[in-house]
């Protein structure tokens, strides 16, 4: 714990960020958000509020029209493409449109995120099996992704996002097609990743997953931040409450 505190604490720093899409769509306006390492943040808001746009800025799929985006202390606009690659290997993204390869099996789809950082086949297989059993998909391991139901595809996307044990997880509408029980499995997985140190940003309409949470919730509306529920999060203490509650789970 001593070491954790010495490292830079901030994972995401958005400073007065705006995003305009041509010709004149203002997807994000004047957004400033700071997310600490080890935090879970819920990003809510109506459809079209700008949630996906914000996540896209965080992995440099898009550049902001104005303002600065910093991830892990690095200004994304200044990073070389090599560094962007390295950074992306450390960010797990569950895309809203899944981005699965339909004619590859579930296992292959999950493996991709680990292959790009040259993990061993043994490690990849073990990790894939574990994730699939956690998400209740063990029997689908060799099914083609294109043959899965929407809810199953969604879980595969989530498995791929967390497989490489990234420091930052961006989940865009991760429970949109899931029943409450399966939603529970997904949230358990996210919590486990969070306990191992991952910072997680979840964009969602699904009130059930943030209703009773102790984590911070930010609401967007037409590109503007309308509500930031900061009080719950003890920023200044520098201590991660989720780790405080389960100290035994570290190094798990």
């Amino acid at each position: 714990m001593q070491q954790r505190i010495k490292k830079p604490k901030v994972m995401i720093d958005l400073i007065k960020v705006s995003k305009m899409y041509p010709p004149k769509v203002e997807a994000l306006a004047d957004i400033s958000i700071t997310v600490n390492k080890g935090e879970i943040l819920f990003l809510t808001g109506m459809s079209g509020a700008g949630k996906t746009s914000l996540l896209r800025l965080l992995c440099r799929r898009e550049k902001p029209t104005k303002g600065f985006v910093e991830v892990a202390g690095e200004d994304l606009s200044k990073l070389s493409s090599r560094k962007i690659q390295k950074m992306r290997q450390n960010i797990g993204i569950a895309h809203q449109d899944f981005k699965l390869l339909p004619n590859r099996t579930v296992a292959q789809n999950i493996a991709i995120s680990m292959e790009v950082s040259y993990k061993t086949p043994v490690h990849i297989r073990r990790r894939t099996k574990k994730l699939l059993s956690q998400l209740g998909l063990s029997n689908k391991i060799n099914t083609l992704a294109g043959e899965l139901s929407r809810g199953e595809q969604q879980r595969v996307t989530i498995a791929r996002a967390v497989a490489n044990e990234p420091e930052l997880i961006l989940a865009d509408e991760p429970t949109g097609n899931l029943d409450s029980e399966t939603t529970g499995l997904v949230m358990d997985l996210f919590n486990e990743c969070n306990q191992k140190g991952a910072t997680i940003v979840i964009a969602t309409h699904d009130e059930s997953i943030y209703k009773n949470t102790s984590h911070r919730i930010i609401e967007l509306s037409q590109g503007y931040m309308v509500k930031s529920d900061d009080a719950v999060w003890p920023i200044l203490s520098g201590i991660d409450p989720s780790q405080e509650e389960h100290p035994e789970s570290i190094g798990h």
Partner: protein, 295 residues
């Protein structure tokens, strides 16, 4: 680091994804190599053959009278001044007569009435047996003509000239088929790689989002091109070898084989052809990734 394993896996995937055009490419590369190496093989053998047939390469210089010892030395000196020669033989009228009689065999009676020196004395000049001499033989002959006391210079002029233009023709064919090889291999390989890239567009986009390095994305395509070159040229050479053996079997015992001792490429040349095709194909795929893979 499981770098190599992952890259090879990715390359295999590419192969399987567009296997039909991969096979087409292999065939094209193989056939081009076959055509090129066929002509090249013929060319090298003809040149070797030229050296074996060099015995025919003899200039006979007829003199007006029998040269004495001193004059012989002077002739020798002047001939060697023009070009390096294998050997120089002086044939006196008497020797010429005896040879002629021998050639006539049973008919030599007809010579009985002839004086023994009715044939002029001659110098036989054997140039060293290289293609170069073949090319310059006419000049050589013209030079010998200018020496004092020379009546006439004879050599298998027609044969030499025809042979020379045949070699020129072969040379052009080898160059043409070599260019064909370069064009077809680079273009078809570039084309197949392009197909693979288009076929994997979705995946490549995803890989970029997952932070795949450009090595991870590019190297498999590069390897794919190199592999096509390697397999294609190896099978082309293999086919040529089979063809060569088949021809040899078919022609065994006939004069063709005895005339030319036809031989296959030496290992270094085989290696050079294979390496060259591999490099060509790899560069074809490289140019294709440069054009169609924007990372």
């Amino acid at each position: 680091m499981y770098f190599l394993f992952t890259i090879i896996k990715q390359t295999t995937r590419n192969f399987l994804l567009t296997w039909s055009s991969q096979i087409f490419t292999l065939l094209t590369v193989g056939l081009s190599v076959l055509i090129f190496s066929f002509f090249y093989l013929v060319y090298t053998n003809v040149i070797d053959g030229a050296q074996q047939l060099g015995d025919d390469l003899r200039l006979t210089v007829y003199l007006d009278e029998q040269p004495g010892k001193e004059l012989q030395e002077e002739y020798r000196y002047k001939i060697k001044k023009f070009d390096r020669v294998d050997k120089i033989v002086f044939v006196s009228s008497k020797v010429a007569y005896d040879r002629f009689a021998e050639q006539l065999g049973d008919d030599k009676d007809i010579l009985n009435d002839m004086p023994q020196d009715f044939l002029p004395p001659a110098i036989e000049v054997y140039p060293i047996k290289t293609l170069d001499t073949l090319v310059r033989i006419k000049q050589f002959s013209d030079y010998l003509q200018t020496l004092p006391g020379v009546l006439k210079v004879q050599y298998g002029r027609e044969w030499v000239e025809r042979f020379y233009s045949f070699i020129q023709l072969l040379r052009i064919i080898v160059i043409l088929s070599g260019s064909l090889l370069i064009l077809t291999t680079t273009f078809t390989v570039a084309h197949t790689i392009r197909l693979t890239i288009l076929g994997r567009k979705k995946e490549l986009e995803l890989l970029r989002l997952l932070g795949a390095s450009s090595t991870y994305i590019r190297l498999p395509f590069f390897l794919e091109g190199a592999l096509q070159g390697l397999l294609g040229s190896a099978s082309g050479i293999g086919a040529l070898y089979l063809l060569y053996n088949w021809m040899k079997l078919r022609l065994a015992g006939t004069t063709m084989v005895n005339l030319f001792s036809f031989s296959f490429f030496e290992p270094p040349i085989i290696l050079a052809i294979i390496i060259l095709s591999t490099v060509l194909c790899a560069s074809g795929s490289f140019s294709s990734t440069r054009k169609f893979l924007h990372i």
